[in-house]
Amino acid sequence: MSSSLLTDVSPTPGGPGSQPAQSFLDVRDLRIHFNTDDGVVKAVDGLTFQLERGQTLGIVGESGSGKSVTSLGILGLHRRGSAKISGEVWLDGEELIGASPERVRLLRGAKMSMIFQDPLTAMHPYYTVGAQIIEAYRVHHKVSKSEARKRAIDMLDRVGIPQPQRRVDDYPHQFSGGMRQRAMIAMSLVNNPQLLIADEPTTALDVTVQAQILDLIRDLQSEFNSAVIIITHDLGVVAEVADDILVMYGGKCVEHATAEAVFRRPEHPYAWGLLSSMPRVDREVRDRLVPIKGNPPSLINLPSGCSFHPRCPYAERNGIPCKTVEPALAEATPKHGVACHIPPAERAAIFKSDIAPNL
């Protein structure tokens, strides 16, 4: 693992003295808050992570945990009026949060790009698939239409769309779900982005197509040596492709480690819950999945202390600090960060007795 999971970057967001990043993508203390009539929604609250070229980071969490908001924040797609963004995002040595919108626009779609979920709504219904890919290419390349068209056909071929010369003139609604997602990927990759963010790229697809799409992303990643962030609520997806996993809860990172570590030896009770509720083929069929009780927290009124404590089965046992003190992300073992008040020894014991047998 080349990506450093926990670096001791002191949280001085946006300060003039902040050091340029060492990693290809370096997100430091990212906070994205929205002012609404009901109060301030802290969609992302102090997120820090790094990612190297050629590596894949899986961001996992429930709906409303801040996954998508994070990715839109990195791309600079939040409206500056409604969203209050602080912290730093360094991409290849360039800071993006403080950069001019025009500068970020030039990077968007070229150096960093995004695959959206649900390509039926994410592609414009009134333009052909080809026209949309051509447009994406020509924003960042001064080439003729016919050249861009060749590139579009080439990309469609690359992502495995049969008869690309003909399909390039089809509209999105004439594609099947899996084909649309491929076309979406072709559009995102047309400028050979070095950072690719895939937001639930397989959510609307059936399992066989899911596997094909993930293979495709992996192939293209190794070809271009891009850094990839895969956002999902599906642990099965990240298990397949991610090098590192970042578990988000209530806008914060609660666990961050290599994929292997998160699957083999998860530290946070929320990660335990996620794993216990994941169906697995190697498990006895008669075993029931164990859901996480309760609902995701309101991002306006986060629970005091650890925001997971109302749903945590071990909070009572551990006592006061869970309800009053916000746990900091700390290394449980080297390169395995977890934000939990339960003492490591006790966590290990609980995992061994309660969790591991059911996984």
């Binding site: 797609l77 990077l107 779609g109 414009h124 219904p125 009134y126 924003v139 509209y171």
Partner: protein
Amino acid sequence: MINYILRRLVTAALLIVAVSMVTFAIFFLIPKAAHADPAEMYVGKTATPRDVEATRIKLGLDKPIYVQYGKFVKGLVVGRDYDSGPTVTHCSAPCFGYSFRTDREVWPLLLDRLPVTISLALGAAVLWLVGGVGGGVISALKRGKISDRVVMIIALAGVSLPVYFTGLVFQQLFVHQWKIFQGGEYINFVDDPLGWANKLFLAWVSLALLFAATYARLTRATMLETLGEDYIRTARAKGLKERVVVGKHAMRAVLTPIVTIFGLDLGTLLGGAILTERVFSLPGIGKLSVDAVNQKDLPIILGATLFASFFIVIANLVVDLLYAVIDPRVRLS
């Protein structure tokens, strides 16, 4: 696609036939039910019963209603002869009959008035499209800001104030008080384009204000909805300039409902803008209809009504066909 067009054309033709039946029934059955005699209306108050009877036969009003309707349709399609015994007058197709008051053929009368109505409708349409859609876009982009409020207040005023109010106020101020525009007779475009525009301008503005309000609101609502769409986010994610995102990607979607109501509004207006033509004394189809109603001139009312419904049916057809051009998802089905 060809099939679709053919099917739509047939439907449109059937619709026009149906409308002609209903209008015919209204204008010839209702007088009968009210014991008013069209023949009496035609000859005037001083005529003798013999004259009335002769007219009845000449107009074919003595025949059953379906025969009358058949003759009416025949007149529309191939022309019609009116036989009053000693003289036969031929009325060539499309024959809507003769005015009860002036004895002139209805069709040339309608054609004569059409340029005025078209001038009024098209001029106003340009203004309200530019003003309404432009205002709506500004309003949507500046949502909640001062410019949004201003546009929406103007829109509210525009939709609330009737033409006979704004029209009269405009005339009083701009023509009589400040003498910026001239009053007086309508001027043909071919005779004097500037005079034509000068005479029509206030009418355009009054009429456009009414429509622009609706368009501004519709544009604002659709634009706000569209800007929240996923494909707009995708357009931004490609790195497109905001101008392209709004002007190309969002406008394309906003256009669809605008084209729909624009086609229908224009079609309706081509049948005559009754209030505006009356207030500005423009001799268009609307004014012709109002005058005809006042004088109980049945053939003109019938002709103008059919004429207007023809435009509405055509407008509907054009909108449907345009839809297939604008929205590729319509094309296949």
